[in-house]
């Protein structure tokens, strides 16, 4: 069948372009604008309705909105405080600060533990030793497939609460006392908790910065030894210097077992210990997978080439494999650090006074639901943004530059 020739386009007339022939609703630009306008309008409408409802509901419940409540005296106690805090004299704002510091404390120590366990297990999963490899795999599978909340409850209720009571406390050498109220340690009299944490954090930061700077220098065997020695000097030296600067009052307050309680000394709450254990062990399983994937991403040809050059096994790892693996490992690793920090909010289930538990208490007492939830989310978002920022800087510096 012969197909009819399409009629030729009519010649454009004055004032009428080709586009004008297309109906306006087929113009992709216009459609895009229209769609976006509709979307914005819809969201604006929902937001407006929500805010009006909230205002109505709050007015009915006689709750004043605004952040003025942060200056009101809190009136509740917090089990663990790194800074001065008392229920009578301190405000809600201070209570939030205590919560944030507690979150940072458990997250910081948890990250350190999880990294060590995670790298060990991750490397063990690539071991040639059958038993080591299987045990590492079993660890990862078991821990990853059981909810963190359940693990926290297990550590807290089934392990730490099952420890002996005060009268039957386990007294360990060095003046440590362990019972179901927590772990009691001798307390150095020269500093309070925050100062110690501050000095330790400063030490770690200094050591890391030094290593990054020193890492740019050419890597000879001697430079490496000097670097390790210098790191050790920082790690030992800074706390000692801080100790001497404080006047070196070398005295410890030892915990004493009383009839109903343990007096004196520093106390590690069982909630803190349970949370730390749970978070570290759980996150370590994920870090192990990250590490394993990273090490496996370095092609075997690299190792073979290194061996062909005559590098020893440790040298191959240190100079060839690990630098390349780190490029793959670091981004998901920071993600896991962030997960650990966010997961620390599960502390509320076992009663460790982190940011979320404090926020919940403030909410219950003051009734400022919207403000409290906003503050809490803002703090966690800040953590996320800071980590994302660091991540991007790192990526920009170390990402593989391809042709």
């Amino acid at each position: 069948m012969e197909r009819a020739q399409p009629p030729p386009y009519p010649p454009p007339q004055a004032g009428e372009g080709r586009v004008g022939a297309v109906p306006f609703y087929r113009d992709p630009k216009l459609r895009g604008l229209l769609l976006q306008a509709l979307l914005c309008a819809a969201i604006g409408l929902v937001a407006y309705g929500a805010i009006r409802n909230a205002a109505d509901n709050l007015a009915r419940a006689n709750i004043a909105s605004g952040f003025g409540f942060l200056d009101v005296t809190a009136g509740f106690d917090i089990g663990q405080t790194l800074i001065d805090y008392s229920s009578q004299a301190s405000t809600y704002g201070r209570a939030f600060l205590v919560g944030v510091l507690n979150t940072l404390l458990v997250a910081g120590i948890g990250i350190a533990f999880a990294t060590v366990i995670g790298f060990t297990v991750g490397i063990a999963r690539l071991s040639k030793n059958f038993l080591v490899e299987r045990l590492a795999t079993a660890y990862v599978e078991l821990i990853r497939n059981v909810p963190l909340l359940l693990q926290l409850l297990f550590w807290y209720n089934a392990v730490l609460k099952a420890l002996p009571e005060i009268a039957a406390s386990a007294v360990m050498p060095g003046g440590f006392i362990l019972n179901n109220r927590g772990l009691f340690t001798p307390r150095p009299l020269f500093a309070d908790g925050l100062q110690i944490v501050g000095v330790l954090a400063g030490t770690v930061v200094l050591a890391v910065v030094f290593n990054i700077v020193a890492g740019r220098v050419e890597r000879s065997q001697r430079a490496l030894i000097v670097r390790i020695a210098a790191t050790a000097l920082i790690v030992v030296g800074v706390p000692v210097a801080a100790f001497l600067a404080a006047g070196a009052p070398f005295a410890f307050e030892y915990p004493q077992i009383g009839r109903f309680n343990v007096r004196g000394g520093a106390e590690l709450l069982p909630e803190f210990v349970a949370l730390l254990l749970g978070l570290s062990i759980y996150t370590a399983a994920f870090i192990a997978e990250v590490v394993r994937a990273g090490l496996k991403s370095v092609s075997p040809g690299q190792t073979e080439a290194a061996q062909a050059l005559g590098l020893r096994r440790m040298q191959t790892l240190r100079l060839i494999v690990i630098p390349q693996a780190m490029r793959v490992i670091i981004p998901p690793l920071t993600n896991q650090y962030l997960n650990l920090t966010k997961n620390s909010s599960l502390a509320v289930a076992i009663g460790y006074p982190d940011l979320f538990l404090v926020a919940g208490t403030v909410l219950n007492i003051s009734g400022q639901a919207v403000e409290v939830v906003l503050i809490t989310m803002a703090v966690y978002l800040t953590f996320s943004l800071i980590i994302a920022l660091v991540m991007n800087i790192y990526n920009a510096r170390y990402a593989l530059v391809e042709r």
């Binding site: 979307l39 509901n57 040639k128 509320v348 289930a349 639901a369």
Partner: protein, 390 residues
């Protein structure tokens, strides 16, 4: 040149010393084959490795034996209250108190759901299992109908069945009475059913060319992913009632479901986005060249391929979601973990071993579900990568 001819021609007298047939091959040394060889190669390849093997074996025995004692040998299997699981003079060591799990089993599965209506929960489980099997079994017939059944029919039918509808004679059961594994599965199922479509939409929005759409999608995804699930749940349970008119204030379970759905959608969006990014640009260009519209391109070319390569990651995020359902317990929902907590604190069964027993049982259930899912994901991954294997 043949070696033998050479020998023969140059030195005929040496012929007696030349072997005419190849020597019989000697079996490999005993230490490199069989069980012994395997042990040597995998457990004692070097001194250091051998020491580690011995130390690990010893600690493994040291951990496993008491565990078996606790779980099986010393365990209590029958009994009607705590007396069965208390240590007595003739039985000083008591292991796991399985009698308590047996006693509270119905509670752990149904919560406080009325006993007369439990058949409805059973039918719900059966329908869900049917739909899941249909979707997961890749050779099943008419999986497109299966998808419609799972994502459209099942949610409505389940709601009618579980919640009740006076119109057809099913008495309404208040969600406050729901509990146990039922609620855990409901929360997980809602998250699974809702998060995929919303996640796809958000992922497309984030890759859209329209700036407002892209900005809003990105903001939502990054905001939700930047905060812990528990704050999202908290926001849903505390702030949601403030934001809607007083008359239709959603009930507790509904609020938690909204929170879980929002949260899992944001994570699903990132998973789907990764799949979309993996699509070569040529696929889009070819579709455009064929004259397909944006939606046709997505529906016929991009999404089928992108979602297929994403299946393992989707299943992985479902595993995470299933574990995260435990968090609804903190906003006061009676999920599986909460019923274990309640049963654990019940004075009728309060013994020193009750907590550990309850947690071990719960861990076993969660582990079984998550491990099965992760095996499935691994299997799919192997199948999908079969074409790339050399």
């Amino acid at each position: 040149m043949d070696a033998q001819t050479l020998t023969v021609s140059s030195q005929p007298t040496a012929r007696a010393y030349v072997r005419a047939t190849p020597a019989p091959s000697v079996p490999p040394p005993l230490a490199t084959v069989g069980l012994l060889g395997w042990i040597r190669a995998n457990l004692f390849p070097s001194v250091g490795s051998g020491v580690v093997t011995v130390l690990l074996s010893l600690s493994l025995i040291w951990i496993t034996l008491p565990l078996i004692d606790f779980l099986i040998v010393d365990a209590v299997w029958t009994g009607s209250d705590r007396d069965a699981c208390l240590a007595t003079a003739e039985r000083p060591v008591v292991g796991a108190c399985w009698a308590y799990i047996g006693d509270r089993f119905a509670y752990v599965i149904y919560g406080s759901y009325p006993i007369a209506g439990r058949w409805r929960v059973d039918i719900f489980f059966a329908m869900l299992a049917f739909g899941t099997a249909w979707l997961l079994w890749l050779e099943a017939p008419r999986r497109d109908i299966g998808a419609i059944y799972f994502f459209a029919v099942l949610p409505v039918a389940s709601f009618v069945l579980l919640h009740g509808l006076e119109l057809i004679g099913l008495p309404v059961v208040d969600t406050a009475l729901w509990g146990g594994i039922t609620v855990t599965i409901v929360v997980a199922a809602v998250g699974i059913v809702v998060s995929l479509p919303i996640g796809v939409v958000l992922a497309l929005g984030r890759r859209s060319k329209l700036p407002a759409v892209r900005l809003l999608s990105t903001l939502f995804i990054e905001f939700v992913r930047g905060v812990p699930l528990i704050t999202v749940l908290f926001m849903a349970s505390v702030m949601l009632p403030l934001f809607v008119p007083d008359s239709w204030s959603p009930d507790k379970l509904m609020r938690a479901l909204v929170g879980v759905a929002l949260f899992s959608s944001a994570y699903m969006a990132e998973v789907v986005r990764a799949g979309l990014q993996a699509m070569p640009k040529g696929q889009y260009e070819a579709a455009h060249a064929l004259g397909l519209s944006y939606w046709q391109t997505l529906r016929l070319i991009i999404l089928p391929q992108a979602l297929k390569v994403t299946i393992p990651n989707i299943v992985n995020s479902y595993i995470a979601l299933f574990k995260d359902t435990t968090l609804v317990f903190i906003v006061g929902i009676f999920d599986f973990l909460k019923t274990i907590e309640v049963a654990r604190a019940d004075p009728k069964w309060s013994t020193p071993v009750t907590s550990a027993t309850g947690y071990i049982f719960a861990a076993f259930v969660y582990f079984a579900c998550c491990y099965a899912m992760s095996r499935y994901a691994t299997g799919i991954e192997k199948r999908l990568s079969a074409g790339e294997k050399r």
